[in-house]
Symmetry: C2
Subunit: 314 residues, 2 copies
């Protein structure tokens, strides 16, 4: 099944304790599309400028990602500059040059309209809603957001939350949206705004899935915890969350039906793709991983989190 | 098999968003012993004052915990006063009255010397070492510590680390001991100081087990991640770590041999006992839980973290 993703295709200038890169390919839609491309067909809606070359295009093409929906505009591509210090937990944004993204109005090509899975990557909720409205018949809508939109564009964001099946956010975003410290109460409040289910990402600690009664007809009422891989080195955390989303949603789109078992397995594949993404700068690792490596790492995620067999209890 | 635990038996005065309690039974050895008592025989080495009454004694007796090793000294019992604010992640210590603990010199009763499992709960490393030296023939030694000893008593603590089989600490303590941000590198550095294996607790995110080549003859080289239960209400986090330790080590002592499978299952039981401990103030919940409830919750921990079956991959 095809996924349609709308989001940023960008250049990133990044400094981490492992080194520095200037204007390398990045953006939420880029990381998402690369990660999802190992599971299903992906089509991208976005905008780039004149500095986006055939070399950048080739990164998508090599993974069979459809880039017909990426508009070429006059001017420069969206450019993010940031750095990470010792703990690598949070990026410090040094610059956000929206460039061609400032006037972007997404238009869905006719041949994309049969996409069954829609992913609204982290962009202005106004644009997320415009895309959602042009795709009224999709089977499943999943979305992401960030602190900036929660703090200053809440009314628009609420309109997006109302039309989502699945929302992917992190702990801090769940607390911001809900105003709740307690993670279970926060999840309930967030789902009450629209999403039938919710994946809260905990960085190095994995992710928790929460299911409202509207998900799976109430059949999956317990939360679910998926691990992250303890990594001895993180080269560049940029795009880890988008890669998680790509692995998660790509796996879902590859399956005939979204069941609780598929959702949980998808959370493991999200962690798997996130763990690859951070091994090198930018898209380097996600553009070159193999399906065999993905499946090996999936088995590793299972090994580090599953008990071998039931032993006698208390 | 019997566990011998040395640590604080104390009174706690605690304020949390759920309420306030004054001078209720607490202490690391108390929480540990109650949690472990559901799995195996437990003997306690500690000291209390004249304010420790038959009513407090009865909490141990009802769980069949051997308190012969708890010395009755003139003066008052160790008293900790603390409070938790909104996020409940960290206690703010308002008072630490060592009282009879200030001059405590642990002496192991003769009838305790056949204990096969030793747990050195969080106390002065000098005392931990004194106990360890009086128990030269134990099968397994597991210990805990805290930021205070790491920061200001490092030389003494290092002597304890050198004689431990298993160390249980939290993320912050692992970073402090190792001077490393990266969790995998931190674990390696900590184990190089002595412990063959290490359990790093992540609070609401569960725990990670790390194994050196000296553990299990190198048969368990991968880290292992055990979940915590997402809880809608945490009444009192005091003693959660000690209760984790009690469930973890109690389960280990109940098994004929410490294998990688036993270690991993023990981490799940640690999480189970920690999840009960925080449901009410002080020892209330741990003193009254049933083996049936423990086994039900163990199954819940499995359910929220295990995939139902292997599905097709990337």
């Amino acid at each position: 099944m095809s996924i349609l993703v709308v989001g940023s295709v960008a250049f990133d200038s990044i400094e981490t304790p492992s080194g520095k890169r200037t204007k390398i390919l990045g953006g939420a839609a880029t990381h998402f599309a690369l990660a999802a491309s190992y599971f299903t067909d992906v089509r991208v809606i976005g905008v780039v400028g004149e500095d986006f070359t055939a070399e950048h295009e080739a990164v998508f093409e090599k993974r069979g990602i459809d880039t017909e929906g990426i508009e070429r505009a006059d001017g420069l591509t969206f450019h993010w500059t940031g750095e990470y210090s010792g703990s690598l937990n949070e990026a410090k944004t040094l610059g956000t040059d929206l460039n061609v993204f400032a006037t972007f109005a997404p238009k869905i090509p006719e041949q994309y309209k049969d996409s069954e899975y829609l992913f609204l990557a982290n962009i202005d909720p106004v644009l997320q809603l415009q895309v959602r409205q042009q795709m009224p018949d999709v089977k499943l809508v999943c979305g992401d957001t960030m602190n900036y939109w929660i703090a200053d564009h809440r009314a628009n964001l609420d309109k997006v939350l109302a039309v989502l099946d699945v929302l992917l956010i992190n702990d801090g975003e769940a607390r911001m949206i809900s105003g709740e410290h307690n993670p279970v109460k926060a999840a309930e409040k967030v789902m009450a705004l629209g999403p039938k289910s919710l994946v809260v990402k905990h960085g190095e600690y994995g992710a928790t899935g929460y299911f409202s009664e509207r998900a799976f007809g109430g059949k999956a009422s317990r939360p679910f915890r998926a691990p992250a891989l303890p990594l001895g080195e993180v080269v560049d955390p940029t795009g880890a969350g988008d890669s998680f989303a790509g692995g998660f949603y790509g796996y879902i789109a590859s399956q005939p039906e979204l069941t609780p078992a598929v959702f949980k397995t998808a959370m493991f594949y999200g962690g798997v793709m996130g763990s690859f993404a951070v091994e090198r700068f930018g898209t380097d690792r996600l553009a070159s991983v193999t399906s065999e490596e993905i499946n090996e790492r999936f088995e590793l995620f299972r090994e580090i989190s599953h008990l071998e067999d039931a032993l006698a209890g208390a």
